[in-house]
Symmetry: D2
Subunit: 377 residues, 4 copies
Amino acid sequence: MRTGVWLVGARGSVAVTSIVGASALRAGLTEPIGCVAEHPSIDNRALPGFSDLVFGGYDIATTSLVKRAEALAAAGVVPGRLVAALHSELSTADEDVKVLPHGGTQGQAAAAMVADLQAFRERHGLERVVVVNVASTEPAAVPHPAHASLLQLRQALEQADAVLPASSLAAFAALNAGCAYVDFTPSTGARLPALHELALEKQVPYAGHDGKTGETLLKSVLAPMFAMRQLRVRSWSGLNLLGGGDGATLADPAANAAKSASKQRVLGETLGYVPDGHTRIEYVPDIGDFKTAWDLVTFAGFLGTSMRMEFTWHGCDSALAAPLVLDLARIVAAAHRNGRVGPLPELAFFFKDPLGDVDHGLAAQFEALAAFTASLT
Amino acid sequence: MRTGVWLVGARGSVAVTSIVGASALRAGLTEPIGCVAEHPSIDNRALPGFSDLVFGGYDIATTSLVKRAEALAAAGVVPGRLVAALHSELSTADEDVKVLPHGGTQGQAAAAMVADLQAFRERHGLERVVVVNVASTEPAAVPHPAHASLLQLRQALEQADAVLPASSLAAFAALNAGCAYVDFTPSTGARLPALHELALEKQVPYAGHDGKTGETLLKSVLAPMFAMRQLRVRSWSGLNLLGGGDGATLADPAANAAKSASKQRVLGETLGYVPDGHTRIEYVPDIGDFKTAWDLVTFAGFLGTSMRMEFTWHGCDSALAAPLVLDLARIVAAAHRNGRVGPLPELAFFFKDPLGDVDHGLAAQFEALAAFTASLT
Amino acid sequence: MRTGVWLVGARGSVAVTSIVGASALRAGLTEPIGCVAEHPSIDNRALPGFSDLVFGGYDIATTSLVKRAEALAAAGVVPGRLVAALHSELSTADEDVKVLPHGGTQGQAAAAMVADLQAFRERHGLERVVVVNVASTEPAAVPHPAHASLLQLRQALEQADAVLPASSLAAFAALNAGCAYVDFTPSTGARLPALHELALEKQVPYAGHDGKTGETLLKSVLAPMFAMRQLRVRSWSGLNLLGGGDGATLADPAANAAKSASKQRVLGETLGYVPDGHTRIEYVPDIGDFKTAWDLVTFAGFLGTSMRMEFTWHGCDSALAAPLVLDLARIVAAAHRNGRVGPLPELAFFFKDPLGDVDHGLAAQFEALAAFTASLT
Amino acid sequence: MRTGVWLVGARGSVAVTSIVGASALRAGLTEPIGCVAEHPSIDNRALPGFSDLVFGGYDIATTSLVKRAEALAAAGVVPGRLVAALHSELSTADEDVKVLPHGGTQGQAAAAMVADLQAFRERHGLERVVVVNVASTEPAAVPHPAHASLLQLRQALEQADAVLPASSLAAFAALNAGCAYVDFTPSTGARLPALHELALEKQVPYAGHDGKTGETLLKSVLAPMFAMRQLRVRSWSGLNLLGGGDGATLADPAANAAKSASKQRVLGETLGYVPDGHTRIEYVPDIGDFKTAWDLVTFAGFLGTSMRMEFTWHGCDSALAAPLVLDLARIVAAAHRNGRVGPLPELAFFFKDPLGDVDHGLAAQFEALAAFTASLT
Ligand SMILES: NC(=O)c1ccc[n+]([C@@H]2O[C@H](COP(=O)([O-])OP(=O)(O)OC[C@H]3O[C@@H](n4cnc5c(N)ncnc54)[C@H](O)[C@@H]3O)[C@@H](O)[C@H]2O)c1
Ligand SMILES: NC(=O)c1ccc[n+]([C@@H]2O[C@H](COP(=O)([O-])OP(=O)(O)OC[C@H]3O[C@@H](n4cnc5c(N)ncnc54)[C@H](O)[C@@H]3O)[C@@H](O)[C@H]2O)c1
Ligand SMILES: NC(=O)c1ccc[n+]([C@@H]2O[C@H](COP(=O)([O-])OP(=O)(O)OC[C@H]3O[C@@H](n4cnc5c(N)ncnc54)[C@H](O)[C@@H]3O)[C@@H](O)[C@H]2O)c1
Ligand SMILES: NC(=O)c1ccc[n+]([C@@H]2O[C@H](COP(=O)([O-])OP(=O)(O)OC[C@H]3O[C@@H](n4cnc5c(N)ncnc54)[C@H](O)[C@@H]3O)[C@@H](O)[C@H]2O)c1
Ligand code: NA
Ligand code: NA
């Protein structure tokens, strides 16, 4: 089953690491470390294989994929030997990365995107295409009445003023083109009533939001541990130091707020109460692509005795995110083929801020994922 | 259902914290923080309540429970106000703490213990008694042929030479007296074929080994996280700094070895391979009853990229252990009443080195525990 | 040499810990841990002894010193046994703690303070009085033209509108009363040209600002280490989590900014350049009086190789600050007697944001301090 | 002043990083980060420049310098671009790296070394040669009566049995050849009465022991901080995790013991008492050339209040050590020219376990170093 993966933000770190990695896996140059769909407990027989994936996408930047991959190699994110070996694959993929359509009304831009997606599908003889948003995090979207209904939205898109944030416009185009949509970022994406309507109309699934790769991943196992043990978490404070492109964007307080909020949600939902403390994101250019997160948890044990734990996580965000992007593309494509429509809460395992009213503990999410993939044919 | 809790090591930190805590709970002076049997997802209707518990036990030390409790209050382990308020309850419990029988053959000592247990049961009109080993960790036991069969063991116990370590002798006595036995320490306890035979003969259950309260608790959620995410753990190294009575014992390399081994087992079983690195225990008197454990985990992500996490856990061991001792006494008593016989692998949630071939992930263990308690009537 | 110590903020944590401690030292109930003037390399023969100190001061709160001391004991800041033993000393000191004069013009308030200071001096037959500001940190002061000259300031103080922040008004009163003034906080205090003029006119010394007790103390030895080794610090980021009264005040972004700025100053001055990164202060009530600070330093070694260190400091702020308050009172009193006038840059050892153009390395500051105390007679 | 640097262990990580770095500095391809002799406060006018240095040495391994440098580049210790650019310089240096003489009596081996050193000096027209030991750490040496006197030693070296550890034999040869000797390792080296006699006889200086690059460097600023502040350190525990060649050697308990002891010495000497706790070294292959050290310090403040700090140091040992090797070669060469003879305690700044009865605080050591270099002409 040849499957297209259309990356919005295709020249970013996560996207390029995903493309390099898929190519390396296809060429047998690396192992699928970090690829959840390759876990022994996950039945992946219904999923497209790594060699079934064809990449394309949008970006607003124009640096070539090879250049971006070399920069990632210099930063220690991907091995230089892989980039050297995969030069021609990357150049080929580059031909399918387009400049994001702009100008005219948002409706016109969306129509151009639909055309691009159809051309991509035909050019490569793809059975289906999954659109994955890995573009820079947007500021929180401005509410607009047309977000509430598909009819109104369609009308508003024909006006001169922008009504949708970029992530939602891409989702609108994806769904219109009959493509499943995954939001790996905290941006709005498909999370609007009008777009939900559209997904149902077009009979396609969507998934999100915000890939769970660092501090929140840890919270999703540590908070359940405190909960299972009936220990009372009194405060949970964190600081995330990040460089890289994503760090620069998140230094913008508006984007930062969205991300920080989705990072604390797991605590309230897992513990049943919200402890003191905040999670901060700070841009420190020298940190580069390796994020450092520090968290301090204070808690009470038997008879109220005070205790504490702290952890430091030093992770390469793109190397954590990229295999999940591949997992999501493969699983969502199979879900689409299996006739799944609308939000996919079974994929909560992958997200900081999952769709639906789901368990926030990682082990429960893994079980739900395993059951889901086992149900696909 | 009035239930006896006979603590071997009854004047130690864990035991005294358990007794103070149960008394405080009974008197409504504290909340059951850290008591797993009080978790909303655990059905505890079949378990004895805190006010059904009556404490007694053995020790080789003779300091009064009140003195020990005051020392724990001074060290910040239990609140001073509780010790002051529970003075008379502690003095009453003191009457049921006996000096460990010794002298003569081991068979004679065991007989004295059986008599003590029966007297305790009768004196307080107890429906049943659970013996819990919270004595100092023993050096690894010397193997002996008589460990392999109950018949041979009974004969050997009549000889002058000691054949069982103290923990196993206490288990032998407990089972003979028809009492369930729980080993909260890494000592041998009931883990001998001969004692397994005896448990079956006497139709009593047993559980163990080694309460999971700190670093291993964290490992039991973090190792599954790495496993579920297909991240490859390359090394896991740890240092445990502890003062207190337990620390002094574990400074003995022999005891230390037993404990360190049980601490690493979770890694191999959860990850499916054993990463580089060791776990060390070190006695640092000034650390007192609050243990500090530091762990460094190095791991590979997608394309082999190296990452790391470290954590520091600063926990009060006795305040973490005591509520589990209460949980175990309550659950094992109910299991006994329900006719459960032999090892209880469903209680793996509580132990570093659980009996049976069980899942080492904490979430799976919690589910098994919930199913088990729900099955009791 | 009987010496008065007039604490502005006398019912705060630092002040009460200082009073409890000085009383305990006088009574021989404790050792002078943390008291720099008792260091073998510091010649303290010219300084008043602990038994020469008499305490008084101002606050806006009215809780008794005994109550405050008991709260500090419950929080683990001071030992309960000392508070119990020093009950009557604390009650006596309470009589000399007044409500901060207010109402009328600032000039009138200052006059009332001068009268209070004189009465205190006479009541206890004190040779001299040192005023130490340990009140809550103020927001950054609003600039005013009258800050630039003593003449203008005296006129402005007679007007209805406030011209000075509280810390500077207290400094004005202190200097007018012929008392030396120490600012242990980051507030403005004596740092105004007009007040400098006044200090010269009245022939009294002053010292400040902002006691160096935690993260900045560490920076003042670690930054010189990197500098001496020619290692290039690329980023230095920190998060300070604090509860307690001071934490609540600093949660106010205005106060926070002043404090954070004084915390980073040591880096620029010691390294010769300002690395990336920020220092944050966050109020987390559950943290209480024990502050936790975490810092991450990334640096380059030979050939540009990237390295990192991180530290966590878990200190009891008041127990770190109080002995320095005693040191400062003793040393500044002796400096005053020795005819020292104006700012005392030799006391940089004690401060985050020292007066004068001084070395920010702790070792150099210690040497300067030792030379200074040795020069006093 | 053309100066030879004869490295014992010339194919090891520290040696190769030193050679790559000196070549890169000479070629203007890098900055002297980490080079203390380039500090603005150090007068280096009397020292040989980087382009005056010529490298040679001994090893027991035979892998080429280029291969070793490439391995270091792959491990992230040195930049790959430098190794590529310096290919021919490294090949040239390779010609001066000899296999350590062996066979025959130790006296014969020493004579062969003297001949090698003289040939090296003549071949390159060197004014003088400094021998620097950067070979693998040896097990603690076996005491021998001949260590006590030069006369006896000379006789014993003619016997069949080995009397000196390898590091001391190299020191013997170096001194005999009129070369200054620096021990960068904890091995015995020149630290024997007989070799001290020889240094005086030959009128050459020597320096050591054990380069101070990580945890001990931090201790040398943190311990003085606690001391200056009169804070009472109660325990100081540490764990050093290291991979790399040095790690493998130190996994040997005998070598480990020597190193651990020299690491704790700074505490006793700086604090005036020895706190609880130990420092451990552990070999973890996956850690590679980047060492991770974790230390926990517990201490008491005013009134005995307990506090703690912990730090994690993640340093590249070779990148920290190599610039110091260059510093030492340059400074010791100049000292030799200035007629300095015997031990050089003024170089304590560089060593964990310095010669002589010196201050262990880093700031004082830096001052001593600055005074020393300023005295050279
Ligand atoms: N890496 C992780 O661990 C992780 C985890 C969760 C979420 N995310 C999210 O993934 C996204 C990508 O992260 P990254 O590290 O690759 O960031 P990046 O800055 O390297 O890449 C973002 C790319 O998006 C492009 N872009 C910006 N606006 C666009 C638009 N409107 N349309 C198309 N392209 C646009 C940029 O030019 C850039 O190439 C971010 O939103 C981040 O928050 C990442
Ligand atoms: N606290 C925890 O978190 C935790 C977790 C897992 C296991 N454990 C285990 O629990 C046990 C108790 O820990 P603790 O901190 O209370 O130690 P402790 O030293 O305070 O108490 C041990 C008590 O056992 C007594 N004792 C020694 N030998 C005995 C014997 N043969 N028979 C009867 N009593 C004997 C001692 O006199 C002492 O009173 C240890 O084996 C420890 O390893 C504790
Ligand atoms: N504790 C440390 O390590 C440390 C270090 C450096 C600086 N400081 C500074 O010391 C000061 C005191 O800290 P703390 O922890 O004792 O705080 P705290 O909140 O416990 O005490 C401050 C006291 O000042 C009083 N106060 C407020 N405004 C006043 C005014 N205008 N006049 C007189 N009293 C007033 C308050 O009522 C309170 O009793 C703070 O400014 C803090 O930033 C403390
Ligand atoms: N890197 C640091 O930060 C640091 C700090 C202090 C001390 N040191 C010491 O420096 C030494 C070198 O460290 P490294 O990391 O380069 O180790 P390494 O293992 O990479 O190199 C040691 C070299 O010495 C060679 N060798 C072994 N025995 C020899 C002998 N008898 N004669 C000549 N060569 C011999 C080995 O073949 C190897 O090439 C070690 O003793 C280490 O303890 C290093
Ligand atoms: Na840490
Ligand atoms: Na830490």
